[in-house]
């Protein structure tokens, strides 16, 4: 079957059994390092000492095969700080393990994991920035989202939100001034790209050091759109108040995919069963969103490479309009859908249903022809190929090391797609393929997205067939959900879905009230963007811009 994945050779990995993970074997592997074991909804958590992080994680990585550090969650309890490393395997993401590192309240310190997993670098900087845990042996522990001069750590308990703050404008100093040439080597030159720049897809600031026209060093500076999404979600009640925010994380019409991430985590946390009919509608609408998101990625990538609002860009937006019209019929909104509810969806398909099916089918029928057109214009275009083939190469090892997921990882040949590997919704009942390309360059990433559009169209088509034949008296769109949701205290969960950009994960800890005590978003773009220095070292500036475009970051999701 197409959905089956070649079985990985896991015989050498500790703790792998027929039906999942044997946590006892893993605990034996770590021996005395494990102080305590906790039960999370998605996996077991091992509590370890704060000064043994590197030892434990490298054992788990090398001997137990946990090669994917999906997320680092930091939080403050009344009596301690805590960092949680959510580990998974690229081969089988259902094999999960949380490593919990408590640290004392008065002086929160623990060892950094950045030397084991490169992706932990930014995640720990974020934890330091927002929660205030210090990571020893971290290569570069600075604030990442908030300005350098910010006072206090906003997600810690004693933060006073009303205190005055001062923000500098230093970074935007004129790069042509003599003192911005680096002193020890006069051949290099420092250039700011962004935060307001047409090629940065929003408000990203890239600090580059050029040697001639090649990039000697590069550092993305983020946080220009950090709008406190985690705080907003921690202030909202589970049932209705959180759901509008996911739409605004990845805002390029990928709304329903994001909503699904929250819905999946919260439903598993509160043990809600979603009716099958609602799952089919979710699957269909999510894939429509994916098409819209990939169309935007394609259009803006062409904009980056060709530098003007030319045909491809306009074509991509023409096709997005069609998808948005369909989604507007379904949800009532063009961009911020707010369509999913815990336990189902907001309402059934619009009446008359035949018209909706016909409209969607028309779109799907036109799609192959349109994709042909895109292939003529883009992938068949020699100039485009010269710009994209073999530029911005990301090897599969680097991609895994940095926790890259989604089309970026699949463009490097990492066969990782949560829709298949960690099934949810209706995906495992449908016939479709996971797209991978081996090249790892800008061209492969674009190609993956274009081919994924075809696969999404296949999924939508099957969903429509299903919905059309669904008996009228079994169209249950919502499960019975209590008016006020209060999950049991101290339940913790990390759940992820395959968003448009990759693994979009949510960590929720409940404290028995109707609002989450900690709500952490694992954004795929945040991890994907970390690979930019890796892929553009030694490349020309325009190739860096192309790499940035092919990463398809959305700053709303990078900064949250």
């Amino acid at each position: 079957m197409s959905l089956e994945k070649p079985t990985p050779d896991t015989a050498a990995e500790v703790g792998v059994t027929e039906d999942g993970l044997d946590y006892d074997a893993l605990a034996d592997l770590l021996g005395g390092h494990v102080l305590d074991r906790e039960e999370h909804v998605n996996a077991e958590g091992f509590v370890i000492r704060p000064d043994e992080v590197q030892a434990v994680l490298s054992t788990l990585k090398n001997e137990a095969g946990f090669d994917h550090c999906a997320c680092v969650t930091a939080q403050e309890y009344d009596d301690r700080y805590e960092s949680i490393y959510h580990l998974r395997k690229f081969d089988d993401p259902t094999q999960e393990l949380s490593v919990i590192v408590p640290s004392p309240k008065d002086d929160p310190h623990n060892e950094s994991a950045a030397r084991v997993y490169s992706t932990a670098d930014w995640h720990e900087r974020e934890a330091y920035d927002l929660v205030g845990i210090n990571y020893d042996d971290h290569p570069d522990l600075r604030r990442i989202l908030l300005p350098e001069t910010w006072q206090g750590h906003p997600l810690s308990q004693d933060f006073n939100q009303d205190q005055p703050q001062i923000v500098t404008l230093r970074e935007n100093a004129n790069p042509l001034e003599a003192d911005h040439r680096s002193e020890d080597d006069s051949d290099t030159m420092f250039v700011n790209i962004g935060p307001h720049h047409p090629a940065t897809h929003g408000v990203l600031h890239v600090k580059t050091v050029l040697d001639g026209e090649q990039i000697a060093d590069l550092e993305p500076d983020i946080g220009y759109l950090h709008r406190c999404e985690e705080q907003m979600c921690q202030q909202g009640t589970y049932r209705h108040q959180i759901m509008p925010y996911p739409d605004r994380w990845d805002y390029v019409s990928a709304g329903i995919l994001n909503e699904w991430a929250y819905a999946r985590a919260a439903e598993d946390l509160a043990d809600i069963e979603v009716p099958e009919y609602a799952q089919v509608i979710r699957t269909m609408s999510a894939e429509l969103c994916r098409i819209a998101a990939h169309m935007l990625a394609l259009g803006t990538f062409a904009l980056d490479v060709f530098g003007d609002f030319t045909a491809i860009f306009q074509y991509a937006f023409r096709d997005r309009e069609v998808v948005q019209n369909i989604l507007e019929d379904l949800t009532g909104q063009r961009l911020m859908f707010n369509y999913l509810r815990l336990g189902g969806v907001a309402w059934d398909l619009p009446e008359p249903r035949e018209e909706f099916f016909e409209k969607t089918r028309d779109f799907l029928d036109d799609l192959p022809h349109k994709l042909e057109e895109y292939h003529d214009l883009i992938t068949g275009n020699e100039i485009f190929q010269m710009r994209c083939v073999d530029t911005g190469v990301l090897s599969p090892e680097e991609a895994k090391q940095y926790g890259a997921t989604g089309p970026v990882a699949r463009g490097s040949g990492v066969d990782y797609d949560l829709r298949r590997d960690d099934p949810y919704g209706y995906y495992d009942e449908l016939d479709w393929n996971v797209v991978t390309e081996e090249g790892g360059d800008n061209f492969s990433r674009v190609l993956v997205r274009m081919r994924e559009v075809e696969e999404s169209a296949r999924i939508i088509e099957q969903c429509i067939d299903l919905l059309e034949q669904w008996p009228e008296d079994e169209r249950e769109i919502q499960a019975n959900v209590p008016r006020t949701l209060r999950p049991d205290p101290d339940t913790e969960i990390y759940r992820a879905v395959e968003g448009a950009k990759g693994e979009l994960g949510i960590y929720i800890r409940s404290d028995g009230t109707d609002k989450p005590a900690r709500f952490k978003i694992r954004s795929p773009c945040f991890s994907n963007l970390q690979t930019l220095p890796e892929m553009s070292q030694g490349e020309y500036v325009p190739d860096m811009v192309a790499s940035l475009g092919s990463l398809d970051i959305v700053l709303g999701e990078v900064d949250r």
Partner: protein
């Protein structure tokens, strides 16, 4: 050569006809020209003419911040096509633009940069604020890091509400701005709570003392008084 040609019989031709060239010149002959009658001149106040010109040909700044910028792109792109209204050529540099659409949430780190971009635009300049975030902070108003509206930092001519506003709404907002410009109305001058200042000019308080080692006296800074913001 031309000296050989006899001059045309002037007395047979009206001024209007004389002005209506043929051949290449034919392209200048519009119905508007005919409507002017015998004279191609109109009499108007210079200011009024300039306002009309300004409103009819606006160069927007290509400036994307957050979610609203996606709808803004849709407004520029096919179907909605803001260019129909003489306002659809996004300029990449603020020095070439005269209208800035502010499409998204402004956070503490970005506000000084936006102010700088606005300052770099040549006068006269106009601001369309797009979406709830630029009115009040919108859904993120309670965030620790969110500036409560674009008007805290730069003066705003037109607010387009919505989260995000539909492209039609933005087109309406831009058309309203053009109308206002053509009527010669200028934007209200607002007193803005957050300004760029040199660090050395700030009032010496606890926070300034604390940051004194980190920040140069000449560095530009923006100071936020979060408890006073609306």
């Amino acid at each position: 050569m031309s000296s050989d040609q006899t001059p045309p019989a002037v007395e047979d031709v009206s001024t209007q006809e004389a002005r209506m060239g043929d051949g290449v010149d034919d392209r200048f002959n519009s119905t508007l020209r005919e409507a002017f009658g015998s004279t191609p001149f109109i009499l108007t106040k210079f200011d009024k003419f300039m306002n009309w010109v300004r409103g009819s040909s606006m160069f927007m700044l290509q400036f994307g911040i957050a979610c609203c910028s996606i709808e803004m792109i849709h407004t520029y792109a096919i179907k909605h096509d803001l260019d129909r209204f003489g306002a659809g050529v996004p300029r990449a540099s603020p020095r070439q633009a005269d209208v800035i659409i502010v499409p998204g949430t402004i956070v503490s780190k970005f506000a000084p940069r936006m102010k700088r971009v606005y300052d770099q635009m040549p006068e006269p300049k106009f601001v369309v604020s797009m979406g709830s975030c630029t009115i009040s902070g919108g859904p993120f108003q309670e965030g620790y890091n969110v500036v409560k509206g674009a008007e805290e930092v730069i003066p705003v001519d037109i607010h387009v509400p919505g989260c995000p506003p539909r492209p039609e709404a933005l087109v309406y907002g831009v058309a309203k701005l053009q109308e206002r410009i053509a009527n010669g109305e200028s934007s209200p001058v607002t007193v803005k709570p957050y300004e760029l200042e040199q660090f050395g000019d700030l009032e010496q308080d606890e926070l300034v003392d604390k940051l004194a080692d980190e920040i140069d006296e000449d560095d530009l800074v923006m100071r936020y008084n979060w408890d006073n913001s609306p």
